[in-house]
Structures are given as C-alpha cells and as structure tokens.
Symmetry: C2
C-alpha cells in the first residue's frame, strides 16, 4: 500500500456510512471502517478524530459559512432575509460538497440513534442561537432576532428534509428560496389575519 | 392521614420539581418525592406512572387541544394561521394550567438532562408532524403543510422561551400573537426580497 491514498477521506466516509447502516453506529469500530475502505486505522485517524466525526466533520466550517453570510447580508435585508442568507449558504455548501444522497444517508443514520440525534439537535440549536447573535450585532433586537433565526432554521430543516427525500427535485438552495416564497405568500394572503375568535 | 389528600397531584409535582432541581432528576426516587410531599408512594402512583411523567403528564391532552384547534381554524385561514391557532391553544392551556414559573422550572430541568431533552424534542417533533397531517386533511399540500407546521412551532418555541424568562411580561398567547405579527412584518417590509446576489 502506498503512503498516498487517493480519496482516503471520502472512501473512509463511505465505508463508515455503509457499516453504520449495515450493523449500526454503536456496533461499528474504527478498525472495521479502515478495513472496509482498504486503509489503515492510522490513516483513519489522520482524517477523523473518532467514528462520530465522520458524521459531524465539517460542521465548524459550515457554521462559519452560515454566520459569515448572515453578517454580510445586504444592509437593507430584513432579519428573516438576513438569517435565511446564512442557511442558503449552508444549503449551497451541502449541495456542492455532500450531495443529496450522502446527506440523506447521514440523516437516516442520525435519526436511528439517540446519541447522534442529540448531537445533531445540539448542533442545530447552536446554529440558531449564533445566527440570532449575529443578527443582534446587525442591530436586530430580541426577541425578533431569535424569532428570525428559529424561523429561518425551520425553513431550512423543512427544505432539507424535502431535498433528501426527492431524488430528482430542485437543488437545496432553490428549495429554500421556494419555502421562503411560500412562507411570504401565507402572510400576504389575508391582510393581517387574526386567529378565529 | 386521611384517604383524601387535597391537591395531592399538585403537591407531588412541586415536591418532584424541587427535588429534581436540588439533587438532579436521575438521583431522585419516587419514595423521596412522596415523602417531601407528605404523601405515600401509593398516592404518587395513583397520579403518575413514574417520575418522568411528572414532567410530561398532560402532554396528550395538550396535543389533543393543539390538533383540535388546527382542525377547527376558520376555513379561510391560511396554513400558517391554522397551524398557529393550534399553538395558541397550547399557549392558552399553559398560561392557565401550568403558569409561567412552573413552566420555566420545568424547562430548565429538561435542559439540564440529556434523556429529558431527548424526550421533549421527540414530543415537539411529533406535535409538528401531527399539525402537518392535520393541515393536510384541511387540503394543504406538502411541503407547504410541513413548512407551516415547523414555522408555527418555531414561533411557539421562541415565544415560550421569552415567556418563561420574563417574569412580568405579557401572557403567552399574546406573545405568540406578537411573534406572528413580527414575522408578518418581516415579510411585508421589502416587496419579495431576494437574498443579496
């Protein structure tokens, strides 16, 4: 085996995904992942800190892209539009770097394991609160900043789920745009609708 | 001790909350809860199935109220307004039955324990998907039904958090109404704002 392993990171990720799916996350060892990928454990640890990081690696870069896009949204953008700009950046990165199929596999794995679900939810909650802070530094007051961040996250999650479930549908950023338009349309329908009395 | 214990349910709930806070949820036994409330274990089990149910009891009634309000929203209500009607019903029930202080105590306890957080998040996710189904039975197509349900949940959660953190603020249903108005205002600001290019 040469010291230079082409696509080692991607091969390890795919081997890990396959094994997690076949036999469960808890039951899979790093040794098995390396073996399946035709690589050594040493190589695995050059790319990932542990077997969980295969699923969550890249989350910090994603968060940086998210917050940069919120901070750099047009000055005239309303809070929801600015928050959504962040999630559009995440959507573009997912579309490009991970792709629909791998993202869907990852999502189903996470859904099947309590520890991973918890970790994913903590990640998303931390995204939302950081987006709210970034909005706040743009001059948006609370509770509007948190509201905009949480609603933008809800739009993102809904679009993301739809994206992973529809093999031939539009790319994720388009779905996020569509969801934002649908949300705006709900509001413009009736003039300031109050709940039925 | 008489067989009729006044306010046994509420006394047990308060004793449980106090003990969970003082020594942690995992460390607290049913025997301790009953003792603190000046009641017997037998009485505890007449009111709650286990110590977790003290925190999650009533969730089924809450969900029934949620879905009934969505189903019964005015026929002309747009999907978000119908979904929000459900969460307004939950808000009214929380304001009346639990109150801000107890709700806040409960929330902080849940936040401090991974098992309880998981259970709470599963509850909220099941609420959102049931609201989406109810919207669907009102003729709302996917993915709009899920979008409206998730956004309404985000509005509810943001309002709820604000409610528990502000001792003298408006009642929860008013906060939900305010959040909905704030969200509508974000959309009406710029005409169909697109994210900056």
């Amino acid at each position: 085996m040469t010291r230079w392993e082409p696509n080692a990171r991607a091969r390890l990720a795919q081997a890990a995904m396959d094994l997690y799916r076949e036999q469960g996350f808890n039951q899979t060892t790093v040794a098995e992942i390396a073996e399946r990928a035709g690589l050594t454990e040493r190589t695995f640890f050059r790319h990932y800190a542990d077997k969980r990081e295969v699923l969550f690696g890249g989350a910090d870069d994603m968060k940086d892209a998210l917050l940069a896009a919120v901070a750099n949204a047009a000055e005239s953008a309303d809070p929801l539009t600015a928050a959504a700009a962040g999630f559009l950046a995440v959507g573009a990165a997912l579309e490009e770097q991970r792709g629909r199929e791998l993202a869907g596999q990852r999502q189903r794995l996470i859904a099947a394991n309590a520890e991973l679900r918890e970790r994913e939810l903590i990640k998303l909650a931390s995204w939302a609160s950081s987006v709210a802070e970034t909005l706040h530094s743009r001059g948006v007051e609370e509770p509007v900043a948190t509201l905009a961040a949480e609603v933008a996250l809800a739009v993102f999650r809904t679009s993301f789920e739809y994206w992973t479930e529809t093999a031939d549908g539009p790319p994720l950023p388009d779905l996020i745009h569509e969801s934002l338009d649908q949300l705006a349309a709900m509001h413009s329908g009736a003039p300031k609708p109050r709940i039925h009395d």
